[in-house]
Each structure stands twice: as C-alpha cells, then as structure tokens.
C-alpha cells in the first residue's frame, strides 16, 4: 500500500485528513471537514481556489488558464478539485 498523504489546514480548527496518493480531493473534502467549498468540481468555477504548499505536480494548461485569471500573483494558487495528490500538502483558503 502506498504511503498516505496528509492534508492539513494550518491556522484553522480543521483536523488533518489522510488520503491515498492520487485520490481526488473533491471526493473526500467537504465544507464540513475542510475550509474548501467545491462547486463545479471540474476546474472551471474557481470556488475551490486555495493556496497549496507541498511537493505536487504543477497545474495543467486548463487549470493554469483559470489561475491566471483568478489569482495571477499567487504562484501557489491551485484549484483543489484539479490537484494530483502525491505528497503531504498544506491547504490555505484564498479570500477572493
């Protein structure tokens, strides 16, 4: 079994969550166990825009196009529904 990835939410009351690598965050995080609200879940609406700190793959072109619009000055901004989980990550909510 692969080592679990720990998703933590610093500076919040939410407990960390352990997931298998490559699991889809939008299938496991909810507004009740994390600060992330998932809207469309397909990388278009930006509802799940967050800052992700951790060693994960960079965004694909479609996600990058949205990030260039939604958070052009934040190199750590990601759409949580599009993140390919491969390592421990910290997630911070971006206030829009």
């Amino acid at each position: 079994m692969s080592e679990l990835c720990i998703i933590s939410f610093p500076k919040t009351d939410y407990s960390p969550i352990a997931l298998q690598p490559h699991q889809n965050l939008s299938e496991h995080l909810t507004i009740q166990n994390s600060p992330v609200l998932f809207g469309c879940r397909t990388g278009i609406c930006g509802t799940c825009l967050v800052e992700v700190i951790g060693d994960i793959a960079p965004p694909q072109a479609d996600e990058q196009e949205m990030l260039d619009t939604l958070a052009p000055h934040n190199p750590n901004a990601r759409l949580a529904c599009q993140v390919e989980l491969t390592a421990n990550v910290e997630i911070h909510k971006i206030e829009q």
Binding site: G39, T42, G46, T47, T69
Partner: protein, 393 residues
C-alpha cells in the same frame, strides 16, 4: 472624449471569466453525445446492472432495501435514476424560462451579448438533457410498471413538482403568480436578473453534491464503452452543468458587484427569492438521497411500486413497509439528512459575501431548522392520514 458608459469589459477579470466559460462550454458541449446516447437507449440492454453507485438507489438503507433481492435492488437503483432526473427535468424547464427573462434583464448591460449567448447555449443544452432524461425514464417505467410513476407529461415552468404534491390550490396559485411576477420584473431589472443566478447557483450547488457521485460511476467504470447508457448520460449532464454552475457564480458574485447597490425593493425581492429556495430545500427524503422532496408527496408512488409485480406486496404489507421506511429512523434517512446538512453548509459559504441578504438567508436558518426528529414527527402524522384515506386500490 472620454466615455462615461460603464461596460462589463471594464472589469477584465469578470469578463475573462465569462469568456473562458462560454468558449470552453461551446468546445466541450455534450449535446450531440447526449442525443446519441438517448437515441440508443434500450432498457433490455442494461436492465441487469447498476446505473449509479449502490447507495444511490431508491429507499437505500431502509427496511425495504434490507429485505430486497439482488434483482429488486437493481430496480431500486434504476428507479433512483428515474426519480432523480424527473425532478431535474422540472428544474431545467424552469431554468429555460428564467434564463430568457434574466437575459432580457441583462440587455441593459453594455457587453450583454456574451452573457446572453452563454444562456442561450445553456438553454439548448437543458432541452437535450430533458429529452434524454424523459426518453429513458418513460421507457423504464413503461417496461417495469406499464405506466408512468415518477415521470410526468411535459409541463410549463410554473407547475409545482412532487416537492409540493401535498400543497393546496391556493398555495399553488400563489406560487405561480410569484414566479410569473418575478419573471416579469427580472426581465426589466439587471440586479434581479443577476440575483436569479444566486438562486440558480444554490440549486446547482446542491445538484453537484450528488451528480458528482453519479458521474463518477461512469468515469470509473471498468468498461466505459459498454457502460449503461443512463450512467453515461449522468456523466455528460454533470459536465454540462459544471459550466452552468460557473455562469451562476460569475453572474451572482461578480457581475452583480459591477451594478449599483440594490434598492430596498430589489433587496426585498432578492431575499424573498432565496427564502423561497430555502423553503424548497427544507425537507430531506428517506426515499431519495439528494433531492429535498417532501416524502408524504411520494407515498402514493411508493405504494404503487410496492404493489407492482416487482415487489408483489399485499395492501397490508405495502403499508407496513412504508410505515417502517418513512416513520422510523434508518441508515437511509441519516444519509439523506447528512446530504441536507452538507448542502446547507455549502449554501452558507456560497452566499456569505452577498451583503444585501437578510441574516436568515445568510445563516440558512429556515433550512437549518429541520431535523431527524422533525422529519419523523411530520411523517408519522402524514402517514396516519395516508393510511386512513388510501383504501384498497
């Protein structure tokens, strides 16, 4: 000479979001695939397999589910699909109408064309969704029961759905008048046109909670090419609706912020609209997780299912089963309640920055006042009435 006309494109971020949404939706439009799938649907080709994850079956986790045979469980799984998407048909009929009235209200905005083109595309997609859902649902119900149960003849946008089946003529008339009046005034008011998308966004946000799981069934299917067509349609629908949810978000969060602050009247109408949405989503259903139906409205339909040759129950056994399913706690009821709670929390976050909303809308307090014990008290009272008035067929 410097122009003083305010244009939507003066806000480049909002305009860019609208452009990306429209462009990608056109490129990825699933209408042709949806139509092809619906045309190729033959119930016999997929009648022996699940179409949704097992927990998305009619009356899942209730005593009926516990005692059903594997064959009956597959049918309950199909009936969830039929019942769920019959409700979505109602929502989409209303969406087509209000897309048009809201588009009229947005004509007053410079650069209106992009938004209106987006809404036109969405309406045409809704028509394809409606066709697919009804084609499949009618064929399934005819095959299983020889009659329509959850499916209904096409209707206009002001007709009550099963959410309200226990309403009365006066309430139905009043609701129709309110919807017609909202359509009329929002067609002449850009703020209210945008506000409609707050309600549409909340409703779609609710849909996404379940539709994501339904679409995953196809996406993770080991043999996608031979996967059941209804599962495929759930997936196509989910993808189309992602763009629709995005439009709702941009219009209700970003475009609305480009307008003058609302007047007292506009605030009143906007808040009444959202309060109505809370009222629509007050209930949760033991029969169907994810649609906030008023379960007494389903009693006659579930009774017909239980009395059909598929379950072959006597009058007495059918009623006793319904009493156990609807008036007692079950795993299914708790799952539906959890979905209701998640939806309510999601709505709160979705509307939290809309500063013209009343506290009871920001806190979703009407929706939050429902509970398992309140559900059971309502059912116990309604079921007694059902038993008294529903004799042998």
């Amino acid at each position: 000479m410097e122009t003083t006309i305010h244009k939507l494109s003066d806000n480049p971020t909002t305009y860019r979001k609208l452009q990306i949404n429209h462009t990608r939706n056109k490129q990825q439009d699933h209408t042709a695939l949806m139509d092809e799938a619906a045309a190729n649907f033959r119930y016999k080709d997929c009648q022996d397999e699940y179409w949704n994850p097992e927990e998305f079956s009619l009356l899942y986790g209730t005593p009926l589910w516990e005692q059903s045979t594997p064959h009956q469980r597959i049918i309950l799984n199909h009936l969830y699909w039929v019942a769920y998407y019959s409700q979505i048909v109602s929502a989409e009929i209303a969406t087509i109408y209000f897309n048009q009235t809201s588009a009229a209200g947005l004509y007053a905005q410079e650069d209106f064309r992009l938004i209106c083109d987006t809404l036109d595309l969405e309406s045409s997609q809704e028509r394809a969704h409606i066709n697919a859902f009804r084609t499949i649902a009618k064929q399934v119900e005819q095959a299983l029961f020889g009659e329509l149960i959850f499916t209904y003849p096409m209707r206009g946008p002001f007709t009550e759905t099963m959410v309200y089946a226990d309403t009365n003529a006066l309430k139905t008339w009043w609701k129709k008048i309110q919807l017609q009046y909202f359509g009329l005034i929002s067609a002449n008011n850009t703020f209210l046109a945008c506000q409609y998308f707050t309600v549409r966004g909340v409703r779609t946000l609710n849909g996404k909670l379940v539709q994501h799981k339904l679409s995953n069934y196809y996406q993770k299917h080991p043999h996608q090419y031979t996967a059941p067509i209804p599962a495929k349609i759930s997936y196509y629908h989910f993808l189309d609706e992602s763009f629709h949810f995005n439009s709702s978000t941009i219009l209700s969060h970003d475009v609305i912020a480009c307008l003058k602050p609302p007047t007292k009247f506009e605030r009143l109408v906007a808040n009444l609209g959202l309060l109505g949405c809370q009222r629509d989503h007050f209930h949760f259903s033991a029969a169907i997780n994810g649609i906030f139906w008023y379960d007494p409205a389903l009693y006659t339909k579930i009774y017909r299912v239980l009395r059909s040759p598929i379950f072959d129950m006597s009058e007495r056994d059918a009623k006793e089963m319904m009493r156990r399913c609807f008036t007692q706690e079950s795993e299914g009821l708790h799952r539906s309640y959890l979905t209701h709670q998640e939806a309510m929390q999601s709505y709160k976050v979705y509307v939290e920055k809309l500063n013209y909303l009343w506290r009871r809308n920001l806190e979703m307090s009407l929706m939050g006042s429902n509970s398992i014990s309140r559900y059971l008290a309502t059912q116990q009272s309604a079921f007694r009435r059902f038993e008294q008035h529903h004799g042998e067929d």
